[in-house]
């Protein structure tokens, strides 16, 4: 409690008026004869910082435990129980904020904006899962991320999706990530948080739209297993990259695969790569040709992305509140009978000149031009690389988890008839 007894302090006359005309005066205090003591304003304190570090510790512990359960114990039950704990702690107790997914934006903003520094705890929330994934695969998704565990819980009737749908919808997270980074870098918005489907449920309190969004996503999640994780999550993109090069990734079978085909249909996420021993029916030569063609096409795709991004920059900039304000002011005629638009009222009373705003907006739009081009180029690159990677399929004799898309949830392990002990001899 702040107990700052200021006997005299300064009041700014007309504090609603522009700063230029503020005059400083002391405020005449009432003089009480009855012994009445002026109370202090009640200012209760926020959640202590120490608790944020507790969150980081819990994250570290659950992540370690999850990794242990997946890689060493190979226990689906353990992963499931841990995911319940994570859901309770990070979801319902911590109410899903700050989460690793949203931390992308904090980190981006800190990198691009001179005025914002990311709190260390948030930075750790961003980093720790990445590092773990780079070492052990996406165990974070398996049992720590409250979004993932929540969706896992409701996917009662998962339907296998065709390869084409996976490929098609799988491009959305890249777009989402690109947009989130673009808007965070320009200090426009945190769109990941704006369209966060689950915090409303975790808090049992949200706007109607948020609830509807969450409800619909969960309903679709009954049939499409983990729709957010697979087809929206921007952090999943980063984890996918990390996981592909992970040091030790979980395997379906603890020892040698006996090709029993039991695990073929168990993965609700279509993340099991089947054996591939045949040669390309189209012929080696055609494959090489395709590869060369696409490699040559790649710069063109990037350029196309840059061009499209550049075209889009004004539309994208429209999300920025300053840009929106400027456009609103230009679109609104000055007249007395006009219903009051709070944005414009606030701007008029802020004392900032319209020209100044326009100049500011011009700078923002300029930033958006650069940003949108980079964003477009990134999307083009992603498309190109994805296509290139789809030209050939690696030779493999066993059923293996796809390192990129596998959530390490350990569901497949239960189906593998190969005994664990065999690994230990």
């Amino acid at each position: 409690m702040r107990r700052k007894q200021v006997i005299l302090f300064f009041l700014i006359i007309g504090w609603l008026s522009p700063p230029a005309v503020m005059a400083i005066q002391r405020f005449p205090k009432p003089e009480f004869e009855s012994g009445y003591v002026v109370p202090d304003a009640q200012l209760p304190l926020p959640r202590a910082e120490l608790l944020a570090w507790l969150d980081v510790t819990v994250l570290l512990l659950t992540l370690s435990l999850a990794t242990y359960l997946v890689l060493k114990r190979r226990s689906r039950m353990g992963v499931f129980l841990l995911s319940l704990f994570s859901l309770a702690y990070f979801g319902f107790y911590r109410q899903g904020c700050v989460c690793s997914i949203g931390a992308i934006q904090n980190v981006t903003m800190a990198l691009f904006s001179g005025s914002y520094t990311v709190p260390l705890t948030v930075l750790f929330f961003f980093l720790i899962p990445l590092v773990f994934t780079l070492l052990f695969g996406r165990t974070f998704c398996a049992a720590v991320c409250p979004f993932g565990t929540f969706q896992d819980l409701v996917s009662f009737r998962p339907v296998r999706m065709g390869a084409w749908l996976n490929a098609f919808l799988g491009m959305i997270p890249y777009l989402y990530l690109g947009l989130a980074v673009l808007f965070a870098a320009t200090t426009t918005e945190f769109i990941i948080c704006r369209y966060d489907p689950f915090v409303g449920i975790f808090r049992l309190n949200a706007s109607f739209g948020m609830f509807l969004f969450a409800g619909l996503l969960l309903v679709s999640g009954v049939f499409i297993a983990r729709p957010y994780c697979r087809f929206l999550c921007p952090y999943g993109v980063l984890l996918n990259w990390m996981s592909q090069f992970s040091w030790k990734h979980m395997t379906i079978t603890p020892a040698e695969c006996i090709q029993c085909r039991l695990c073929e249909n168990v993965c609700p996420y279509d993340a099991i790569d089947f054996p591939q021993t045949k040669k390309n029916p189209a012929g080696q030569r055609k494959q090489v040709n395709q590869l060369i063609l696409l490699s040559l096409l790649l710069p063109l795709l990037v350029l196309g992305g840059v061009w499209t991004g550049g075209k889009m920059h004004l539309t994208l900039a429209g999300v920025n509140s300053r840009v929106r304000l400027a456009r609103m002011i230009q679109a609104t005629p000055v007249s007395k009978d006009q219903p009051e638009i709070p944005e414009i009222t606030a701007f008029r009373s802020s004392g900032v000149q319209q020209q100044q705003l326009m100049t500011e907006v011009a700078t923002i739009e300029d930033d958006f031009l650069t940003g949108s081009r980079i964003f477009g180029g990134f999307v083009g690159l992603v498309f190109g690389i994805t296509l290139i990677r789809l030209i050939r399929t690696p030779y493999r004799t066993d059923y293996l988890p796809n390192r990129g898309t596998c959530f390490s949830c350990a569901k497949c392990m239960d189906y593998c008839p190969v005994l664990k002990d065999k690994t230990n001899n």
Partner: protein, 195 residues
């Protein structure tokens, strides 16, 4: 070098690069925070959302846009700025003649302000936060006629401290900003704007 070990090597190289990238970003972010990483003066400390009453125009969106119902924004009384007026324009509807506590005279839609007599001619006004919905009606009245001792503030125990505050996103005056956790209120009238 056979195919298998070549693949292993590439994987190792990329892993190393990714590690390097993570380290680079982390290092950059930690270095740019300036000198102290811990302690009171650091820049990287945790933040909370707060609104600056000097920018607030009482548009009513604090009441409607908060993810919490009722809003975590409440009217806060900076008593040290209060004139203890008999005719409090934050308490009474404009045009009120007789100054008593009848519901028909109260400005507050949920009757969250309590009025108690101190001594002639002074009255004390206190806010019942369990009732207050953060609409800012009283703040408008107090600011227009009086000293502006009634101010909207985010009450931190109620606030979920979203990564991006949904009121901040819709605040027409841009009054919301992240403030350090060590100094979580922007109430006017504590000598903050001392010149």
């Amino acid at each position: 070098m056979d195919k298998q070990s070549r693949r292993q090597f590439i994987r190792l190289a990329v892993r190393g690069t990714l590690f390097g990238g993570i380290a680079l970003v982390t290092g950059n972010l930690i270095l740019r925070q300036g000198e102290p990483l811990f302690g009171k003066n650091r820049k990287s400390g945790p933040t909370v959302w707060q609104l600056n009453p000097a920018k607030c125009i009482q548009c009513g969106r604090c009441a409607t846009n908060c993810v919490k119902t009722p809003s975590a924004v409440k009217c806060t009384h900076a008593y040290s700025m209060c004139g203890y007026c008999n005719l409090c324009s934050g308490y009474f509807k404009p045009g009120t003649k007789t100054l008593d506590t009848g519901a028909e005279k109260q400005l507050c839609p949920v009757s969250a302000i309590k009025r108690t007599f101190v001594e002639d001619p002074f009255y004390e006004y206190t806010i019942d936060e369990t009732l207050c919905i953060g609409c800012g009606k009283c703040v408008k009245g107090c600011g227009a006629f009086g000293n502006g001792s009634l101010q909207l503030q985010v009450r931190h125990p109620l606030c979920d401290n979203c990564n991006e505050c949904s009121i901040a996103r819709n605040c027409p005056a841009g009054a919301y900003r992240r403030v350090p956790l060590s100094d979580p209120y922007l109430l006017k009238g504590f000598g903050k704007e001392k010149v």
